[in-house]
């Protein structure tokens, strides 16, 4: 291993070694804002949408079986695995090795997963075949021009 001192004499002189205060930040001159005493943090989307950061995940929706709920193809949904599912809640469930978006219904002591669309072509899934992964708390839909 080689140690190379990089010409220290270039930077130091053995004679002058006193420390002089060096002001690095500029000092503002002018009129202060009357709003300074009342400033607050801006509202944040994170604060609104993410109640439990550790258990919140974002999913992209593919398909339109939940159109009636206002969740459309290509929307982004906020899913909270800590939230408690309630009757008719929109949930992400794992069914047949895939993630599916449905409403969970409790009927006659049994649980069902139902789609929420304007036509009747989507099937209902029964209790034994699914597991709730998380509850959908918000849907984010883009209105920008595509």
């Amino acid at each position: 291993m080689t140690l190379i001192p990089l010409k220290p004499n270039e930077f130091f002189s053995e004679k002058t070694d006193c420390k002089i205060p060096f002001f690095v930040t500029p000092i503002m001159a002018g009129f202060p804002s009357p709003a300074n005493d009342f400033l607050e943090q801006r509202v944040s989307a994170d604060e609104l949408l993410i109640e439990n950061p550790a258990s919140t995940y974002f999913f992209k929706v593919q398909g339109d079986s939940m159109e009636k709920s206002g969740i459309l193809h290509d929307d982004i949904i906020v899913v909270d695995s800590a939230a408690k599912a309630f009757n008719n809640a929109v949930v992400v469930a794992s069914v047949d090795n895939d993630f599916t978006l449905k409403r969970i219904i409790k009927k006659g002591g049994k649980y069902f997963l139902k789609a929420d669309s304007f036509d009747d072509r989507y099937k209902t899934i029964q209790n034994a075949n699914f597991k709730v992964w998380g509850v959908c708390t918000y849907v984010i839909h883009t209105l920008k021009k595509k």
Partner: protein, 432 residues
């Protein structure tokens, strides 16, 4: 004089060691419901060896650290899903687990990426509480965990080992009585105790001590003499006397190193310089994160020592800086200069790296009147770079020296998506 720091309190202390089951493999299963009960393995950087196996993969006889290329047909035939390490994902999921755990006790020590100690002194019905913790973590993060409970950290860790090995208590086990535990589950080898490594285990074996029960019967004086105060702490902890406190503060590093092996051997100086400056930028970022500056930079360069028939070359060089710095530009400037001094043509290099030492606090810096670069300008530039790289993507903003070609990049054939850190990678849910 205290030989070890036993607690003076009379109150009984309780500790939990929570650790994630097959962590990396479990992370890969979180967003893949199709892999729920399938064997999964994770490979190290450069897809070299196996660093994680799901329980199903373990059952197929796959060993930890096994090199992957030797048996890839076996993997295909048995439907084993193979992933390249995705540390971005593992890091985020680990943070989530730790966040959930911190809600269960005010005192938590994050011991590693997948383990944490909790101080549960004062909590009632510990086994029930531990079960609650397990259910909560699994529900919120989708990562299965095992919990060991004990009156000391060492006992908690041992309890965790027993919970996993013998699958007792549904993944939660309170090691209250060593004699009872041994009676019920058999002898425990002394190597399994946290802190007793192979060297000490061999020493104990030579004295005829193979099990934990035998170790606990040894005279204290012998343990202190042969295993120093560290061994004595372990001994006392096994006897139920807490000697190792929870470390809740992360101390600043005294040296920062970034180095990687190349995906393929490199012989061109420009390619190696690319790599070195990328590592330099990474190390500088770590430096700024802990508000430190460096005064000593070490660079090293080596060929592949396993390729015994190839010519070998291994060299390192250390440079003392005229003044402490935390600027990527300055560090890389000197790193480049140093590399040119040790690089030799005609060799195929396998690895390079940079080590920053002689660290000092950024706040304690004194300005020098004759510095060649403008510190204030660099500070501002570095702050912007760090913010952009953190917000958008790692290494989005780079210095020219880091290059754009990236011929040294790691082999990562099958890396999963950054499900929680990139908008383009978020998981898909079907509404069909």
């Amino acid at each position: 004089m205290y030989l070890c720091d036993t607690y003076a309190e009379e109150k009984m202390k309780y500790f939990a060691l929570v650790d994630c089951n097959s962590f990396y493999a479990s992370c890969e299963k979180v967003f893949r419901p199709d892999l729920a009960e399938r064997p999964v393995v994770v490979l190290s950087n450069n897809d070299g060896c196996i660093i994680a196996r799901s329980s199903e993969a373990k059952a197929l006889g796959i060993k930890m650290g096994e090199p992957y290329y030797k048996r890839n047909n076996f993997f295909i035939r048995n439907g084993i899903e193979v992933f390249s390490a995705n540390f971005t994902l593992y890091g985020d999921l680990s943070n989530r687990v730790m966040q959930v755990l911190s809600g269960f006790s005010p005192d938590i020590e994050v011991y590693s990426i997948d383990e944490a100690f909790l101080d549960l002194t004062g909590f009632k019905n510990l086994t029930d509480y531990a079960k609650q913790i397990k259910i909560s973590v699994e529900r919120k993060t989708h990562i299965p965990v095992s919990i060991g409970l004990g009156t000391t950290k060492t006992l908690a860790k041992l309890a965790n080992y027993l919970a996993k090995k013998h699958k007792i208590g549904g993944g939660c086990y309170f090691l209250e009585d060593m004699t009872q535990a041994v009676k019920k589950h058999g002898s425990i080898l002394v190597n399994e105790v946290w802190g007793i490594g192979n060297k000490n285990a061999k020493k104990l074996n030579r004295r005829g001590v193979y099990t934990v029960e035998d170790f606990m019967k040894l005279p204290e004086k012998w343990v202190y003499k042969e295993m120093t105060v560290v061994g004595l702490r372990i001994y006392r902890e096994l006897h139920g006397k807490p000697c190792i406190p929870l470390e809740t503060n992360i101390s600043d590093k005294k040296a920062i190193m970034t180095s990687r092996s190349f995906g393929k051997p490199l012989d061109k100086l420009s390619d190696i310089e690319d790599a070195l400056c990328t590592f330099g930028a990474n190390a500088a970022e770590k430096l700024r994160k802990q508000a430190s500056c460096t005064s000593l930079i070490t660079i090293f360069l080596e060929t592949n020592i396993f390729k015994v028939y190839d010519p070998q070359y291994k060299k390192s060089i250390t440079i003392k800086l005229p003044m402490p710095t935390d600027s990527t530009l300055v560090i890389n400037q000197y790193a480049s200069y140093a590399l040119k001094k040790i690089y030799k043509e005609g060799f195929f290099y396998k690895k390079t790296g940079i080590i920053l030492t002689d660290l000092s606090s950024k706040n304690a810096q004194q300005s020098m009147l004759f510095i060649k670069h403008d510190t204030v300008k660099h500070d501002k530039l570095m702050a912007v770079c760090d913010r952009l790289n953190g917000k958008y993507r790692r290494n989005l903003v780079k210095t020219a020296l880091e290059g754009t070609k990236k011929s040294f990049k790691m082999r990562q054939e099958s890396k999963s998506k950054a499900y929680t850190t990139k908008w383009s990678d978020i998981p898909v849910v079907k509404a069909v």
